[in-house]
Amino acid sequence: MMDGVQGAGMAGAGSVGGTGTPACPMTTTPSGRSGWPPPGYRHLFPAMPPPLPPAPPDMALRQSLAALARAMQASAPLDQRGDNPGIPAGYTYLMQFVAHDIVRTAVAFWQLGISGRETRDLRGGRLRLETLYGGGPAACPYAYMTEVRSRLRIMPLARHDADDSSGSPLRDIPRARLDPPPPGWQAGRRLPLDEALLPDPRNDDNSNVSQTTVLFAAFHNAVVDCLTRADAMPGMRFAVAREAVTLVYRRILREDLLRRLLHPQVYAHYTAYGAEFLDDGGAATDRMALEFCFGAFRCGHAMVRESYRINGDDERELAGILRATSGGGAGAMPLSRIWTIRWSHFFDIQGPGLPRPNASRRLRPQHSPGLLDTRFFDAIDDTFRAGLAYRDLLGAGVAGLHPVAELWNYLRAERPALAALSEMSDPAVRRAALDQWLAGAGVGAAHAAPLAAAPPLPFYVLLEAEQECSGLTLGVLGSVIVAETMLGLMARDPLPCEAGGGDVPAALAQLAAAAGVAPAVLAPLAGITDMPGMVRFAAGAPGIGPGNPAFV
């Protein structure tokens, strides 16, 4: 499902011992890979000594990871106590979309542990909505309307769901059958739409992320509509709309998503005027930090619910959401109304009669049972462990991240005030918390000892969140990794309209001028600081609504 950022991060297999001194049995061996990290990747904090190149995880390590994965997936009450009142469920899928916008790995890291194959990151620009736009209308024409190339293509829902009088609202991603009809297909029957015509087909990994993609496409089209009504120069409409949408998207990441996700004091530190980053990217600014991709940002998987209210009071199970895709249920495409999101169920949108949104799950070392589904996350090696948690942990082991202990040592030295926010920066406190959790989860001593000595980063980040913040936000170390990566990336790589250092209204005025329209045309975008604001603006896109189900 959420293998968008392929692989995961763990201070196990190769990464423990980080500075070249193996510290436990889960460390690098002399057979470690050369040429690591792969193209497009680097380690967080260039000033830290790099870990030794990781070796493929051996059976003993994989069995320990499998035991941990099992503990993370053990059945636990999926009641409201596990809900996170601070992060509505829509942010889970925004994070998946963001993950796709940051990296695009050729071969999943967990597969490297089995096959020994090579991989690389294929993403060019990061947090520039390449995951939505691809290379633009010239490079990805299938994603754009034929008659109005400046608009992204959004398709009608399945006809049998449409209101007879109003027709099918435009609420699905574009899909097609490109191959000849399958064997046994009878003329007159609907062909299975087994291809998602998206620049990034991962955005059809489940119906919630494909609906998030439609939301962004609708937002883009609404901006194009504003420019068209103002008679903007036709040749500039797409480029200006894209940059304006990306500008608002980045603002939402800074002011909405990260405000909710990060430890409040860490967020305040990194968003204060003049905040400095420890991670400047070094000589490899354009490469992505493994510790973010395969460690901290894996936290999104713990936020996935077992069921959702999609557009009414019915709870729809995760299994259906995973299957309502071109890959999982081509015969049932276009998307049916059943899986079409009413956004007030996913974001906190205020208004008369609007429902309360589904909450995401609290950030803690627990995955919803649906993420065990063997159709999507079958066993991948001779541990026979199914599920997304094992893939995350194994991928982290393959990635060979900075060990948790080394990250804390570095943070304590370089940012003592931030480190002091966390009791778990103390090795003894950290070890006690790890021992206690592993024992409570029933992980046997033989596996618990190496896991506590060198906790996999994706697991540690969740444990820290649970211990320090009751699972409402990430803890300190997890927040620092995410802030350094996402905020640092946006600071180092501003959009052209941001390069002058002006605020959002000034950047929008600059874009309006580029399109040959008055500043007032794009000025309404300056008021959008969060996802509810974006939803309301996107509701004005052509063909979206009001429809059935409602958009807002």
């Binding site: 053990a74 059945s75 077992e306 015969g331 049972p369 649906g370 065990l372």
Partner: protein
């Protein structure tokens, strides 16, 4: 029935044990047992009854004597079993084909299910039906309340007497 145990070491449940909750007691939550990987669950049942190893990992599994043993086996096999908190005990029946076993569901759960369906709740069939029937991602739709209740009754009738098919 040729054998039955429960985790208290007792034999078959007393007659009427599955009767409705006492008058005045609140209706139990409609939270149900859930399984994510039905094929692993079904293979585990096959492994118990035939003594053959489980297809997923080639291991043998004894018939569980307690709910905890059952959960442990399911955990090891990533069945994805969720058991509602009101389920406290386990009873395992094994029987010969010469014996017809009518597994009567708790009447309060039947009533609660009917009420919820009549109030418009979705009929969430296990996803393997849709996978096999080529309508993945769909949930059944019913033209009338009577049709919905017919389907509900048919399902109960089916799983009550289906003999390993």
């Amino acid at each position: 029935m040729s054998g039955s145990t429960n985790e208290n070491g007792e034999g078959t449940p007393k007659e009427g044990e599955a009767a409705a909750a006492p008058a005045g007691q609140p209706m139990p939550s409609l939270q149900r047992m859930r399984v994510v990987n039905w094929e692993r669950w079904g293979d585990l049942i096959k492994a118990w009854t035939t003594g053959r190893p489980h297809r997923a990992n080639g291991k043998n599994y004894p018939v569980p004597r307690t709910l905890e043993e059952l959960k442990a086996q399911c955990g090891e096999l990533d069945v994805g079993l969720s058991v509602p908190p009101f389920v406290q005990n386990l009873v395992v029946y094994s029987h010969e084909k010469s014996t017809m076993v009518l597994r009567l569901p708790p009447p309060d759960l039947v009533a609660a299910s009917e009420e919820q369906l009549r109030n418009g709740a979705a009929y969430n069939l296990p996803s393997f039906y849709a996978d096999a029937l080529g309508a993945s991602g769909q949930v059944p739709q019913f033209a009338s309340d009577a049709e919905l209740m017919d389907f509900h009754a048919s399902r109960i009738g089916d799983y009550t007497i289906s003999m390993c098919q």
